[in-house]
């Protein structure tokens, strides 16, 4: 089975330069800070926010990874053949976001290398983090295998299909577990809930679709008329619908989540008042509304530039949403009495921003590298 060669026409060169440059700079600064001050250069603390911005970055990137894997699976698993146009790219991006996410997590952890042997050696099967790790590892391996198959032109042999199917299952389970890692925390009511994994999946699909839209435009340029037909029709058809629908659902979720937080008097939810008073929150909400407006307006949704803007807005919104959720769940002090007055004050430190930057720039750099070396625009010939 042959593959279609397709030259990228988007600003991939610029992306390559900026992402590699950004990666090197953020990694350099982050490592320098961590070498000299350790995690004391984070603004996290035992008294307040234990998991800071790098964990938000990890969660955001992992969610996006699952979302991308699901977008890829629309063709490989669910038979929506038009998605083949972006399947290879999305599979690669799913790998890239996962690697980026894990990198920022590793820089956040005390002993990331110890994790490599300590988790498998001890088999703590009641920890959601254990299963999250297991499923993400499986997902990563399967995604790489699947990508390899696609790269070799094997798009839907039974073996390839099986690998693809399993990788999607692993991704869903992994992100579900990540959601459960928060949702199971009954001691943190702002996080608690059995449907949290579902909301993570919804956020994942939204971010995944958004990233797919953005990446496709980055790869092919914003002029949709110059795109290959299959790609253009996907961007104006199925993917646009998926993206719009997911964004609408996600906005509804954020709205109801916020509303119930504001309405309830339950301990821990008082943090919602603080959250809605931050600009971040409104950046997210307005971004979602504007993106929806763009995508629902027939004149604009077929405009590549506008689609790109919408997807970027949605990505920022999902990131902000994860920030509000993860940080917000930690702002009510855990039995600190007068030591912590009111809610915890937290703003990420420079090092935390750098670690976040490492994850995001690494993802983008891998994307750019993949685009250059791995022919991500390929699709089955038939």
């Amino acid at each position: 089975m042959a593959t279609t060669q397709m030259q990228a026409q988007g600003p991939m060169g610029t992306l390559m330069l900026t992402s590699l440059g950004g990666f090197v700079v953020t990694l350099g600064v982050a490592l320098a800070m961590l070498m000299s001050g350790g995690h004391a250069s984070f603004n996290t603390s035992s008294d307040g926010v234990n998991w800071g911005l790098p964990v938000v970055a990890y969660v955001f990137l992992s969610m996006t990874s699952t979302g991308l894997a699901l977008v890829a699976a629309l063709a490989t698993t669910f038979g929506q053949k038009e998605y083949y146009a972006i399947t290879k790219r999305c599979t690669w991006l799913s790998i890239a976001t996962l690697v980026g996410g894990f990198t920022s997590l590793a820089l956040e952890m005390g002993h990331p290398f110890r994790m490599l042997w300590a988790i498998p050696m001890n088999m703590q099967i009641v920890s959601p983090l254990f299963w999250m790790g297991v499923f993400y590892l499986i997902a990563l391996v399967l995604l790489v295998l699947k990508f390899q198959k696609m790269n070799a032109g094997d798009w839907d042999s039974p073996g390839s299909r099986m690998i693809g199917n399993l990788s999607v299952v692993a991704e869903i389970l992994a992100l579900g577990m990540l959601g459960a890692a928060f949702g199971m925390m009954a001691m943190r009511p702002a996080w608690y809930g059995s449907t949290v994994p579902l909301s993570f999946l919804l956020g994942g699909v939204t971010a995944g679709a958004a990233f797919a839209v953005l990446a496709t435009h980055l790869a092919h340029g914003t002029d949709q008329d110059g795109m290959p037909e299959k790609v253009r029709s996907l961007l104006q058809g199925g993917l646009a619908k998926l993206f719009t629908g997911a964004t609408a659902l996600y906005l509804a979720y954020i709205g109801f989540h916020t509303l119930s937080g504001l309405w309830t008097n339950a301990d821990g939810l008082q943090v919602m008042d603080r959250i809605v008073a931050t600009p971040w929150f409104w950046v997210g909400i307005i971004g979602l509304v504007v993106a929806l407006f763009i995508m629902l307006s027939p004149a604009q949704r077929s405009n590549g530039a506008m689609q790109s803007v919408a997807s970027l807005l949605v990505l920022v919104a999902v990131f902000a949403g994860r920030y509000d959720y993860i940080i917000g769940g930690q702002l009510v002090p855990m039995f600190k009495g007068t030591w912590v007055q009111g809610l915890v004050d937290y703003a990420p430190s420079l090092t935390e921003w750098m670690v976040t930057g490492v994850g995001i720039f690494l993802t983008l750099a891998l994307f750019a590298l993949g685009e250059r070396a791995l022919n991500l625009g390929a699709s089955p010939k038939k």
């Binding site: 009495g337 007068t338 030591w339 912590v340 007055q341």
Partner: protein, 830 residues
């Protein structure tokens, strides 16, 4: 710390490294090892896993309570301190300060050995440029100065100021004889007027005992506490906490407690009733309680006496015939009623104190009907211009309920059965000591002088002022032991000027404000490194004495203050030198004191030096006297069986001119002319506990109260990083103490919680961080003292607010007690 950057000799360096472990070798070549830094920061050797742990008996030094402690040392490292479970005050327990000892011992800012100043310019910002000297040179320098003064007939111009004075010998050597032998009225001058002399004088004026009381809390059913923060700072703190657990959680019936203070604190919160009154008005509340007890007939007739016809004739506002009442162990009740008490109704007191009349009445009725009851008070009530009057009024309540010397009441402390010291100072006085010109000189603080404070015990806070004015004269050389008035005295700024003009010898092991101004630093050992004895602070009456055994050899080239004084004394010309040579050392003194136990073995079997060292404490129960239903009895070896005559009671217990508890104070009567002339008080009234408005200083619109909190380890906490976050827990002061400000004040001044604020008085201004809280009164700012040092170590320096910089140097004319809590300030957003 740049200003005290002194070099260190190689010998001292090696000694220090031997003590703290293997020091980094980099320091040696650098040649810039300072007295303050580098050494103890050197990496300490990892402890051996299975070391030999030695437990040494010692005495805590973080408050005057003198708890016996067990000091745990493993492989030369002191790593834990717990209460000595054989010690009657500690009972194996400690207060929060007790555990801080290791941080004090290993304070990286400690002085490492004696040093002299080489920069003749003095001041806050002047680097003294200390250089290390030998102890021999140090002693010689001081002795030469003192000998020269004596030769000129000016020995009175040497003063030795001490802080935590625990009686005659508890600095390791009795420092009193030095003054008499050398010839200076200013050796020593204690800090008691900046501590708690208000209560001492209040008691002297009423029951004739110039002392703090011992208390039998465990048997009391009611405690009425005025400004003595029982659960945060009142001593013996550790034992108070134990008492609290007993009387509130174990004892049947549970003891009821009413607590009086100016802001909500732990004691107020834990009590049954908190009365948060206007600062300085405690006396008004006590007078109203007395008024109710009399009008409602709640006084103890066995102790106080009764109307001749047995019918209560006390009616508000109505005078009585003194002859109508038979007084038993009290004097002047009806006169007091007529001149003062009859008008002191709860309604009146409510107006003065801002309390609710209902609560005053309820308190009086409870206190008057629940026996045994104790009314106790300390600094909160008496650090005001009217302090002794407040104290007398409160202490009078004890007479009204008959709790003096009673079970469940209060009494006074007996001394230990010590042996004779190695030498008797009387045998070593030369002619100069007996008849030298110093004999006619007043004390520099004008204590006991009609121009100063005739009735006071000490007047340390007056020294700087008097010296600067040259009245009565100027000092030449001043030595400090465990006191740092340039930081802690009201009007502290005067002291900086004073210390510039005199030769200053500091003995603190820590780089305090005095050291910055010092010409000579002779660093003391910390308490875990020295020999010392200490008779008990007033506790439960029966005698008790504890011993401090070094848990570890001095880490550095420092010396126990007792040995410093002996070293200097031994170099004073004439018989004084002989006396100090005979004393030999602190350890020798302690050995001699222990000989007294041979004839009087303690209840715990301590009968000599060795058994004392092993147990850490000698004590002998019981307290020898007891008042039961208006009769006094003495211990006869088996019980309180020997009934005492009035003369015996006067001699041993109620040491007033009348031998009674005097509502009409004979002691004040004797000095009435002087008091009237100095205070403008009505001569007829001033002998009674009566209400006088406190004279608030500073000129602001808010009272400024600076309480001691539970973590105040005799001033040391400011440089203990582990103590700082716990210093002001009720308000959440994590990095420093916070200024408690009522929301109404905050609103009026536009101050938000956490804002930096300026606190201003007539003396100047300080900065603080505001805690907007309902803990404090709307008319009061509360800011615990401790911080605001401009020296004192890396963690203390420039942290928090120096409260004493804005508190005026005003004292109660009778007790000489500095009016620390009487200042007024204004606040604004900084």
């Amino acid at each position: 710390m740049k200003i005290l950057d002194a070099k260190i000799s190689r010998r001292r360096f090696l000694q220090a490294t031997g003590a703290t472990g293997a020091a980094g070798a980099a320091g040696i070549g650098a040649g810039k090892l300072a007295g303050f830094n580098a050494l103890s920061e050197a990496k300490a050797a990892a402890p051996a896993s299975a070391g030999n742990t030695v437990v040494t008996k010692s005495i805590c030094a973080q408050c005057p309570a003198r708890c016996g402690i067990d000091v745990y040392t493993t492989d030369g490292r002191v790593h834990a301190i717990y209460g000595n479970d054989g010690h009657p005050i500690a009972n194996g327990k400690l207060c929060p300060k007790g555990h801080l000892g290791t941080y004090i011992l290993y304070d990286p800012d400690r002085f490492k050995g004696p040093m002299k100043r080489t920069n003749s310019a003095k001041g806050r910002d002047q680097d003294p440029k200390f250089v290390p000297i030998s102890w021999d040179e140090a002693f010689k320098t001081v002795a030469d100065r003192l000998n020269a003064l004596r030769d000129k007939g000016e020995s009175h111009r040497f003063a030795l100021l001490f802080g935590r004075g625990w009686g005659a010998s508890d600095v390791g050597v009795n420092i009193v004889p030095f003054g008499g032998l050398y010839g200076s009225p200013n050796v020593p001058i204690g800090h008691s007027s900046m501590c708690s002399d208000g209560s001492v004088l209040a008691k002297q004026c009423t029951d004739g005992n110039a002392s703090y009381s011992s208390y039998d809390y465990r048997n009391a059913n009611y405690l009425l506490i005025f400004g003595a923060n029982f659960l945060e700072s009142f001593r013996p703190y550790n034992n108070n906490l134990q008492v609290w657990g007993h009387i509130r959680g174990e004892k049947s019936p549970k003891t009821r407690v009413t607590y009086v203070d100016v802001h909500m604190n732990q004691t107020a919160a834990a009590s049954d009733r908190a009365l948060l009154l206007k600062p300085g008005t405690d006396g008004a509340l006590a007078l109203a309680i007395a008024h109710v007890m009399l009008t409602e007939g709640l006084w103890d007739r066995n102790f106080v006496g009764d109307f001749k016809d047995g019918v209560n004739q006390f009616k508000s506002g109505q005078s009585l015939d003194p002859a109508s009442f038979n007084e038993k162990w009290v004097k002047g009740l009806i006169e007091w009623w007529n001149i003062e008490l009859k008008d002191r109704t709860p309604k009146w007191a409510a107006g003065v104190t801002t309390l609710n009349e209902r609560d005053i009445l309820a308190t009086a009725r409870e206190f008057g009907t629940t026996r045994p009851a104790i009314a106790l008070f300390e600094r909160g009530a008496h650090t005001h211009s009217n302090g002794v009057l407040n104290g007398m009024a409160i202490h009078s309540l004890n007479a009204l309920v008959g709790s003096l010397f009673a079970e469940g009441g209060l009494a006074y402390q007996m001394g230990p059965a010590y042996g004779a010291p190695p030498a008797k100072d009387g045998d070593y006085q030369d002619d100069y000591a007996k008849n030298g010109p110093w004999k006619s000189q007043p004390r520099i603080d004008l204590k006991g002088h009609p121009d100063g404070y005739l009735m006071a015990k000490n007047m340390m806070q007056e020294i700087a002022k008097n010296h600067l004015a040259g009245k009565p004269y100027k000092l030449d050389t001043v030595m400090f032991y465990m006191t740092n008035p340039v930081f802690s005295s009201p009007g502290a700024k005067d002291w900086e000027e004073f210390l510039k003009q005199v030769f200053v010898i500091d003995t603190s092991p820590f780089p305090g404000e005095t050291a910055v101004m010092a010409d000579l630093v002779l660093p003391d050992n910390t308490y875990l490194e020295r020999w010392q004895d200490a008779p008990t602070y007033p506790f439960q009456g029966w005698p008790l004495a504890q011993i401090r055994v070094p848990a570890i050899k001095p880490l550095y080239d420092t010396k126990t203050f007792a040995d410093v004084l002996i070293g200097i004394g031994g170099r004073i010309k004439g018989p004084t030198g002989e006396y100090y040579k005979k004393l030999e050392s602190a350890e020798n003194i302690v050995r001699h004191l222990a000989k007294g136990f041979e004839a009087n073995p303690g209840d715990n079997g301590v009968k000599d030096f060795d058994s004392w060292v092993k147990a850490g404490v000698w004590y002998k129960k019981p307290y020898h006297w007891r008042q039961v239903r208006g009769e006094f009895f003495e211990w006869d070896g088996k019980g309180w069986n020997k009934k005492m005559t009035e003369a015996e009671v006067k001699d041993k217990l109620l040491k007033t001119p009348s031998g009674k508890f005097e509502f009409k104070s004979g002691y004040l009567e004797k000095n009435a002319d002087w008091v009237a002339s100095k205070t403008g008080r009505d001569k007829a009234k001033l002998v009674f506990p009566y209400w006088e408005e406190p004279k608030y200083t500073g000129g602001g619109d808010l009272h400024f109260v600076t309480p001691k909190t539970s973590m105040h380890a005799e001033g040391r906490s400011a440089n203990i990083p582990n103590a700082i976050p716990l210093q002001h827990p009720t308000a959440g002061g994590r990095k420093q103490a916070l200024a408690e400000i009522h929301p109404s004040v905050a609103k009026a001044k536009g101050i938000r919680d956490g804002d930096r604020i300026r606190i201003k008085s007539a003396l100047g201004e300080i900065y603080a961080v505001a805690r907007v809280t309902e803990l404090t009164r709307p008319d009061t700012v509360v800011l615990p003292f401790e911080f605001g040092h401009w020296a004192w170590g890396r963690w203390a320096k420039d942290r928090g607010s120096h409260v004493d910089a804005v508190i005026a140097n005003q004292s109660d004319r009778i007790s000489g007690m500095a009016s620390y809590y009487t200042g007024k300030v204004s606040v604004e957003k900084a």
